[in-house]
Symmetry: C2
Subunit: 908 residues, 2 copies
């Protein structure tokens, strides 16, 4: 049998057989557009007669140095003849000419990336014939010039401006503003001019022969597959380069044949809300482009019911059938030519996050799709939308048009926020207390900025990357944030910031969008989507039925724990105890503990801190009644709790200069005293200072060095647990030892701590179910997890640190520096701090889980790094067989969905 390069729309069964492998293969062979047209034809929807030249033909053409495969052109002519029979028109016939369009269509939609030529078949003769036939000369010559124009730009790559300038000149000459005011004669003359342009650029005459037009258009579409635009798009979208494009040849139909003609677009459901009713726009006596171009005011689709009731009823019916057939909301284009409805295209409809959720859930309830399909149809990003305030799209567009886009940075924490600018944490807190919405702006943030960040509505920094302190805290607390705006110049002294000429003073309003990283001048309105949305709740419940991974949360405060629980968290995977030490009434005690050399003073300070910690933990346990709570013992290096070294040096320098200028003895004495105190602190800071604090005295190393501190923390945990247990709360504390790299650290530290736990339980005369575990955040810990597993009941991957040590990258330094460069240049495929690096970090996790469970089959394995809320990483965690992922409260719903996706994708 001869190789089949061309399939008529009524040959879809043949195409299916030929392609093998079901609908996906047909789409691969005929492209999305061609396949859907043929499909509509099959189910009895009226589609203008036509055919599709396959992607295979395209690939052979391109591979063979742009020569059509043998037999292809003959098949195309044969298919064209079949159309002539179906339509009763004839290609190139001057009395009753057949016009066709030539459209590209690849397997995956690449909007605007490839080319289309309309009105093929027009030449001077057929144009005249058409004019007679339609009685609308102006429309015909408009169509004709469009053919020449499209042909010119598509086939010979003449810049479109070259043609548009001619039209502009014509408008000017006529003294009219709009193309609509140009006459048939004008278009005729423009067409002539276009042909001259064509000849000049293409060094050949515009082909009068319709067959040659068709041939050249087919070739042009084939070639467009390798056009720069298309290649770039595929690179960006991750579409393979070897798919090729199909070419669909479709009989032209016209919606501008009179008042019984129309053209329009419609969707089977509301794309914004997801409600189940047809939405769309149309125009009577118009062409498809007119609807999109917005030259004339379109009408709501419902009006068609009155204007052309038969066509409307048929459209309604067809749309229902299409949706049922494709099992997905459809977006169609149609044309009514003299009362006859033609469907020109159908495809899956675009929709908002809200609509996506509602449509997926509704379709399950309508019996159209399964729960699993519904869960897979909603993306984690769409769920994220429900969790944060958003700017209205129109507002943002307007602001940009008005020149109010101030800056663009890293979109590190989603959601929208507006407020007055405050340049320090205390002021942010004060203004927030006064009821003002605040955006806190800093070069970068430190732990002692957290109170201001909590009070603010949004956070903006000029330094730092995706896992900078600002980004981490912002995500943790669901605060919209934009960081790393390197162009931003912040003058803390004079209290203003600027980019180039634009200056924003403290107290002035800005708005920032954590979704896009954009910062606007002034106040943009926000709205808050409803997380309790009943469709979302239903969908997430289905996700819970499907997923194998537990979803826990990282939470340090009862309010966060409660929120996470409302969002569906099944435990706390990480409570960072050190955050508690930064609060105003606690920090002095903690600093005292660090500053003293006397064991008695240290113990005294710890005694002061104990009740605070106990209260913190009691709150968490109460909020998580019945669920496990993992509390990590202190982790950061102690110098983080003291003033910054360079700041101290600068302050001292200032004081020493001021003393030179001081007038009175009293002034001098005061300054001297101040200097002495600062020097005392400086000495300690210098003692604690490390070249590479990330790899220094922190985590379990601190616990082994100053056991008093971790012993106090364990006492607080168990006193709290005993206390709330007596109040009837069911409590499962799990104590997590951070940063172990050798099993001996664990052995010793656990021993000391468990002893204290037992003492407390004996004192309180109550038994608590508890576990001890460790964070795996050092490569060596992962490599020796079998040794560790003998001494712990659980391990939890701290993938932030693990990524740093596995890559040898300091994230704070790198994300503001070379890492961005690496991502731009594609040296790294993903930011490893956003998505777990499978080959390196993932491999270590695999080793740890496998080795650990071999020794201790019940070993609970979780993840509590930032990655716990990232869908790709959740997929990996599922594959590795982790017990749970733990993420910030705001990502819990996302993680529930992503975990379900992971389970479903594995099934496949």
């Amino acid at each position: 049998m001869e190789k089949k390069w061309v399939f008529r729309f009524d040959e879809v069964e043949l195409a299916e057989k030929y392609a093998g492998g079901g609908w996906d293969a047909v789409r691969g062979l005929l492209g999305g557009k061609g396949a859907n047209l043929a499909q509509m034809n099959r189910i009895g929807v009226s589609v203008p007669p036509g055919f599709t030249v396959t992607t295979e033909a395209c690939n052979v053409y391109l591979a063979a140095d742009e020569i059509f495969p043998e037999g292809m052109w003959e098949q195309e002519i044969a298919a064209l003849e079949a159309i002539e029979v179906q339509t009763g028109k004839k290609f190139g016939d001057k009395d009753n000419p057949l016009l066709v369009s030539c459209r590209s269509g690849a397997k995956f939609s690449m909007p605007g990336m490839m080319d289309t030529v309309l009105n093929i078949g027009l030449n001077d003769e057929t144009a005249e014939g058409m004019a007679k036939l339609t009685g609308d000369e102006r429309f015909v010559y408009d169509s004709y010039r469009r053919l020449v124009q499209m042909f010119g730009s598509v086939v010979t790559e003449i810049p479109d401006e070259t043609f548009e300038e001619v039209i502009q000149a014509a408008r000017a000459e006529r003294g009219v503003k709009s193309d609509a005011d140009l006459t048939a004669e004008d278009w005729k003359s423009i067409t002539s001019t276009f042909k001259v342009i064509f000849r000049q650029h293409a060094h050949q005459n515009f082909p009068d022969d319709p067959m040659q037009q068709l041939r050249m258009a087919t070739e042009a579409v084939f070639k467009s597959w390798n056009g720069k635009r298309a290649v770039d798009y595929r690179n960006a979208a991750g579409i393979p380069h070897d798919l090729g494009t199909a070419v669909s040849i479709v009989t032209m139909v016209f919606g501008n044949m009179g008042d019984d003609s129309a053209t329009g677009v419609a969707m089977t459901r509301n794309g914004s809300t997801g409600e189940k009713h047809i939405e769309g726009d149309y125009l009577i006596n118009a062409q498809g482009e007119d609807v999109v171009a917005g030259i004339r005011m379109t009408k709501e689709i419902s009006a068609l019911k009155n204007e052309l009731p038969d066509a409307y009823t048929e459209l309604q019916d067809i749309m229902q059938r299409l949706e049922k057939y494709f099992r997905e909301m459809q977006d169609v284009e149609f044309t009514i030519e003299n009362g006859k409805l033609w469907m020109l295209q159908t495809r899956d409809g675009k929709r908002t996050a809200q609509a996506a959720v509602r449509i997926a859930v509704d379709m399950v309830e309508e019996g159209l799709i399964s729960k699993e399909e519904a869960v897979l149809r909603v993306t984690p990003t769409q769920v994220d939308f429900f969790l944060h305030p958003q700017f209205d799209r129109q507002e943002m567009k307007k602001a940009r048009q008005e020149g109010n886009l101030f800056a663009t940075g890293l979109n590190v924490s989603p959601g929208a926020a507006f407020g007055v600018v405050a340049f320090d944490a205390n002021l942010a807190e004060k203004w927030a207390k006064d009821g003002k919405p605040v955006i806190m702006v800093r070069p970068e943030t430190r732990p002692d900025d957290v109170h201001g960040m909590l009070a603010a509505n949004g956070i903006l920094t000029s330094r730092g990357g995706r896992t900078s302190h600002a980004a981490l805290v912002a995500r943790q607390f669901g605060k919209p944030a934009v960081v790393g705006v390197s162009a931003l110049d912040i003058n803390l002294g004079k209290r203003f910031m600027s980019i180039n000429e634009t200056v924003v003073k403290e107290g002035e309003w800005i708005s920032l969008d954590g979704n896009t990283g954009k910062v606007f001048l002034g106040e943009l309105k926000t709205f808050i989507p409803d997380i309790k949305d009943k469709w979302l709740m239903k969908l997430l419940a289905w996700a819970d039925e499907i997923r194998k991974l537990g979803v826990w949360t990282n939470a340090d405060y009862p309010v966060d724990a409660q929120r996470a629980r409302d969002y569906g968290a099944e435990g706390i995977g990480l409570c960072r105890t050190e955050h508690m030490f930064f609060e105003a009434e606690r920090l002095p005690h903690f600093q005292k503990m660090i500053m003293t050399d006397l064991p008695s003073e240290r113990r005294e300070a710890l005694d002061e801190l104990l009740p605070f910690q106990r209260e913190d933990f009691a709150g968490l346990f109460t909020a998580m009644d019945g669920l496990p709570v993992i509390i990590r013992l202190i982790d950061p290096p102690l110098h983080e709790f003291l003033p910054n070294h360079v700041d101290l040096l600068r302050e001292l320098s200032d004081l020493k200069i001021r003393i030179k200028e001081a007038g009175t003895l009293a002034d001098i004495n005061e300054l001297l005293q101040n200097i002495r105190e600062k020097e005392r602190i400086l000495r300690r800071v210098e003692m604690l200072r490390e070249e590479n604090p990330m790899l220094g005295l922190r985590g379990v190393r601190l616990g082994l060095h100053f056991p008093d501190l971790t012993v106090m923390q364990v006492r607080a945990i168990f006193e709290a647990a005993c206390q709330v247990a007596k109040e009837g709360i069911t409590v499962y504390p799990e104590v997590m030892i951070p940063l172990t790299s050798h099993v001996n650290e664990l052995k010793i530290q656990r021993d000391v701590l468990e002893r204290e736990a037992k003492i407390v339980m004996a004192e309180q005369n109550i038994r608590i179910n508890y576990k001890f575990g460790t964070m795996i955040e050092i490569p060596r810990a992962a490599l020796t997890a079998d040794q560790m597993a003998e001494y712990v009941e659980f391990i939890s991957f701290g993938t932030n640190d693990l990524t740093q040590t596995t890559f040898g990258i300091s994230r704070d330094d790198a994300e503001a520096g070379f890492l961005l460069d690496y991502l731009h240049r594609g040296i790294l495929p993903d930011n490893p701090f956003a998505t777990i690096d499978r080959d390196g970090v993932g491999r270590l996790m695999d080793i740890a889980v496998t080795k650990g469970r071999k020794v201790n089959p019940k070993l609970e394995c979780g993840i509590c790094g930032e990655h716990g809320g990232d869908p790709k990483s959740i997929r990996l965690c599922h594959e590795l067989g982790l017990t749970y992922v733990s993420c910030s409260p705001f990502r819990v719903p996302i993680a529930r969905l992503a975990a379900a996706h992971a389970a479903l994708k594995e099934k496949k």
Copy 2:
């Protein structure tokens, strides 16, 4: 058959059969001492009759709550009776009493750790009989009191001082200074007093019954196995606790029976030089203890030839036989009783490093042992001895006695040095040029101190650890160094250092011993062992025949390369190009390159540097003619080449204060200009500053960020290679890209660099054999070595950095801090920066080699971290199948030996 608990010395065949498994098993059963006594007896050497109670008996006794195993005591009595028959004496007989000693003896020598009781069998009656028999009442009662004293301290743990005080009192009463002046009567009375003391402490009488003495002494030796001293010793020496000790009961013989009696010690070869002649000391008419105690002046063993020629000839003959038999230099104890020679002990003799080498080599040439055995008998530490100047032991002892020990720190680089103290690099260099020996003293060192360190004879710092900059550089250049003397207070301003009250001013003399970490006041004499020692050369040549691992060296300069080659290096495994940038004439260009923002200025600076680098490389290639040279591209972060950040801040602060005090306008202007320049540098330093520079912009990241720099380096490498190749040198350059963590880094960087290499070769019109490779110093690189192996011909483990990232430890911070604590507390068994951590870093290396070679079977795998010179680590490298180890020139001979050991130990 009854279980055998006791073996007579003449039952060694039986013991061998019983133990099974050869001589090692016999030593296990009878202990080293018992086995050797039996062995001597077998080969016809006269050993006083005796027997050994087995280690098995000891273990059963200890396990059974201190009850003798069934039949043991009966066997002991039977063996005693056999002795009585052999000696003709009778245990407890007052006329001709048999006396025995009871000696502990475990499989491995534990000197002084367990107990011995002499003269068992004495009581009031037998003492009288002995006195009659010997006619030496004083000797008998001295022996008697010794029995009571040893019995008291060994059996009932009465502190020895209790007894010694009695003797002191007696001396005082008699008005004599020495025990030798006490009479028989004195000793008799002292013996009585001892018995009273015994009764008071032990709550029982001293046992008069010899059988009871024997029984209790046997038990005491058994129990001593679990004494605290013995347990501690075994823990420290890594001896298992379940071996148990044997008990040897030996007939007492006496060298103090007159002028035909004598006692002495001797070695078969000279323990200092290894020369082959008997060495030893003896005393006529004396007891063994007298020889050791040094109360009387001993005679050279050769004198015995004249005094007791028969005994001497026999001794000579026996010693030859023993050496032949044991195939090792022997150290013996002997006693001559009335002309009859008795051998009391033989064991392997202690020796110096020099002697160890010579003896091992001589024994091969004498046909006594194989080359393999000889190689195994010399330790890497003994080879190290040959490579550094040493202090005379006597000199050091004297200095300590005279109170001149100034400080103790970390012994980071072996060898001894003396010189005048210089507190900065420039002064050190100047004084050294003036011909003064210098010890450079700094709180810690930085790259710009290197010229001073090179000029100095030794280095002393108060901060930093085993892999601090000072330690690394010192080892690299073989400079003796002591670092981390935390008690040392260095006043750079006033140019002195002090510990407590002791002050050393700049220019005063000190001596430091890098072997022990001791620092002395004043000048101690040194001597330099001969590395060209012919025996050592022979031994190392044998090691070369045996080893599988290549031994390469880390060298940056031709002079080091030449030295390493003299020491046997087979290539350069690491040349650190950045060291070259610190030299005085180059640093300004390099700093200019860093400071500028203009590409043209940067290129200009690089052009200035190119000839320097080319010259460096040409020198290395010439020195290594015919051998491979691995050159690592720039690795450290750029800020290391600029002034220190905190120093700059302090200097600026000072300048700003000085400006307040400045008098003239000219002064102010000058200061202002100075401030402006410093601020300019400060800005760049702050731009380059990183939180964790170890994990920051360095290695290949620099190469990708500023390709100009690495391209210049590659050009210099290939220009140099082409140049020397034309001069007839055979050159194998290997370009090493540092700090890769992702294969894409390698792919891109290699591409850029290889292109430059090809350009140079085309320009020079000559082809060079070259390789490209990468350092594996990041866990991710090891985990993905299969990916890397597609783009490189070699990999080299940078185990310093790999250890840091695998452990999450910053060595500079940790070795001055918690790591020491970890080692003291045994949390880490070894310093992972000294010996490769097998379970973590070793595992990663294993993964990398296995995966890498799977993809690229010819992959050259080496190690160039500090560990490359550590014997334990070399063993691991051998097991992993590396191609070579690379270490500092001074460790090349050590590595050659250690690599041979690794190969031999694997064979076993």
